[in-house]
Symmetry: none
Subunit: 402 residues, 2 copies
């Protein structure tokens, strides 16, 4: 019996509400030996007070030492085993912009990039061209025709777009072209399984035409494709947990993951304050809210320790009291993974987490931070446990066995 | 290789003795924010002294957030994966009263209950009629004849009884009739698998006749059936661990689980002092004793924080020193699950646990309580690990591999 079987069998109806506040890339590291992490450095009176009444711990996203991408990290938070349910980056982006993917479509995430005169990658993000410019270039790329399939090229945000191939006999099981380093040429799409051979060739034809069309568009004179794949079939959170679930997230990819697990995506603005307003507006309509904060992760990726700490302080001030004033039965505050400014990237470190409810058996943690949470009652625990614990604390699970 | 394969391969003979003291529903919660749990509130000098010389932790019965029934929770303590070995409530009760269940018998747990003039359940326990009254009613119900099968109706305790159907071609895979709420009619028994169709019909015929026979017996004017099923085949503790194991328990259901894993059931009295006497009397005859304390759980279910703490104090005074004076090689003190008075029910919270032996590598825990055990050397661990640890500390496991 899997954990999902258990949840499907045990969940019961209720009026209780669960909020999962995901502060993206929350976990961090000290910049120098003996120093604080970003979260420890931030002044967070509201999170500290909440931690004192919560059970705390460190959430481990995938497997010890394994750094997750955003897709699998979020799936884990929603209780979906990320090693079982693999989702391509293209599918995530397509869902995120609301593109209606069919079951036989293959979607790839695209980056506009810069290549030098020798065709070697000089900038994997084409100087971060603005969304408007990317939209213009996507329009240009829509002219590309491929034999026997329809193509869709949709701008996402900044230098990113989605490429979808639609037609008979397409297959996932493909490599990506981003070499993940500079000074080397983009790779070709290769088939990992024999039935994906034709799909790989179609992608490569498309890339070859793109190179011609973009030749004069420096810095966006080439593209890189990432994570080409079909849509996986995931059970919905309604099936697994019996929850009416909604997502409040400003970035397309997070809306994408939420869509894949059957959440409703709520229209919201770009700021934390607008996200809070969205939560208040829809409070009565759902049992579960996924509330996503993006800018901690971006600051960590930019190596900006002070900015990441400042974003955390902003969450503490603008988001936490607003959520607690709604009196959710269960409030989980966590991150999908760590993004230490020291590493300028996602990392494998487990993520500070608190779970607050009337029934949570508080531990002795009195501040919300990496070292404090290490001593928490949840210990270091798999991220996939969080939803079960939230369900229990919301009194939405009945007893197993007599 | 499963853990049971490992245990079967590695266990060796020995003279050492293991006692597992199970304080039912031991774990608790504070009644108000910042307050103590039942165990923390209780004065327990003997358990505290033992904890100081033990390795401590919190035992997790099934899966995070999942509240166990007593059957699966005890199986886990004995090392049996409760998600693999599922046991119906009827089988547990039948074993508990020493009814000799055959492999093709189907047993259901029965409750006498009260229905109103419209046939809706008004009291799921018939005002908790006494055992003597239930015995009288069971005698009456033995008159019911069913085509092709023999029936047995055996009183258990208070309002509870066991109904066993014996005959060819009976099957488990049946629903129960207890609606678990008031103001609705009892359900019918339904077949969950096609081969259980006839068995379901037989149960429903029996229930229809019961309704007629009990019509004038208000408040016990109807019955509810729970957990009808056959006996699962479990490997015995002798096979798995090479232990001669005995159970000292006053309540039928716990004797039932013990029987299923092959323990001898020792005759004992109703009080803790009588249970202690039983332990002393049989000390020489067994390697492993399961010593069960029931009243902590009942007090928790009644929401009686003070009574639950008082029962714990009684255990500390009357049971713990008596056991330690016998000098068992390994003493485990734990509970099968938590039953916080705050929730008036079993709960998902992990259970304070200590393991004492000459070889246990003590941690820094100095008191036996929820928050103290959180910091223990065992951390939060699966309940199914306990027997392996007890076996190791009893020096009854040989090395794995060369």
């Amino acid at each position: 019996m899997t954990n999902f079987d258990l949840m499907k069998e045990l969940h019961v109806a209720g009026q209780s509400k669960i909020v999962m506040l995901v502060i993206d890339g929350l976990g961090g590291l000290p910049m120098e030996s003996g120093g604080p992490t970003e979260l420890e450095a931030a002044r967070t009176p509201n999170l500290d007070a909440l931690a004192a009444e919560s059970i705390c711990g460190l959430s481990a996203p995938i497997s010890p030492g394994v750094t997750p991408g955003s897709g699998p990290a979020h799936l884990a938070l929603f209780g979906y085993d990320p090693l079982r349910y693999e989702i391509g980056r293209g599918v995530l982006e397509a869902c995120g912009i609301g593109f209606p993917l069919g079951p036989s479509d293959v979607a790839a995430r695209g980056n506009f990039c810069t290549v030098d005169e020798n065709g070697l990658v000089a900038d994997r993000r084409a100087g971060r061209i603005p969304t408007e410019k990317a939209a213009e270039l996507c329009q240009m790329l829509r002219a590309i025709q491929l034999p026997g399939v329809e193509t869709f090229v949709e701008p996402v945000r900044d230098y990113r777009f989605v490429l979808v191939l639609r037609g008979e006999g397409l297959s996932g099981g493909l490599t990506e072209t981003d070499p993940q380093q500079l000074g080397v040429p983009p790779r070709s799409v290769e088939a990992l399984v024999p039935e994906a051979q034709r799909t790989a060739e179609l992608f490569n034809q498309w890339i070859a035409r793109t190179r011609e069309l973009l030749a004069d568009q420096h810095p966006a004179n080439m593209v890189l494709l990432r994570g080409p794949d079909k849509t996986p079939q995931l059970p919905s959170m309604a099936e697994v947990y019996g929850l009416r679930a909604a997502a409040i997230a400003t970035y397309p990819m997070y809306r994408g993951v939420a869509t894949l697990v059957g959440m409703d995506i709520l229209e919201t603005g770009e700021t934390l304050e607008e996200e809070v307003e969205t939560l208040k507006t829809h409070w009565a309509e759902y049992d579960f809210f996924f509330f996503h904060v993006k800018k901690t992760d971006s600051a960590g990726e930019d190596g900006d320790f002070a900015l990441k700490a400042a974003v955390i302080e902003h969450v503490d001030e603008a988001v936490v009291p607003a959520i607690t004033s709604l009196q959710p039965d269960v409030l989980v505050v966590t991150g999908d993974h760590s993004t230490p400014a020291l590493l300028k990237s996602h990392s494998w470190h487990p993520v500070p987490t608190l779970l607050h409810s009337r029934y949570c058996r508080p531990d002795e943690v009195r501040a919300f931070g990496e070292r404090a949470c290490m001593r928490g009652g949840l210990g270091v625990f798999p991220a996939t446990d969080l939803m079960q614990l939230a369900m229990a604390n919301a009194l939405r699970l009945t007893k197993f066995g007599a």
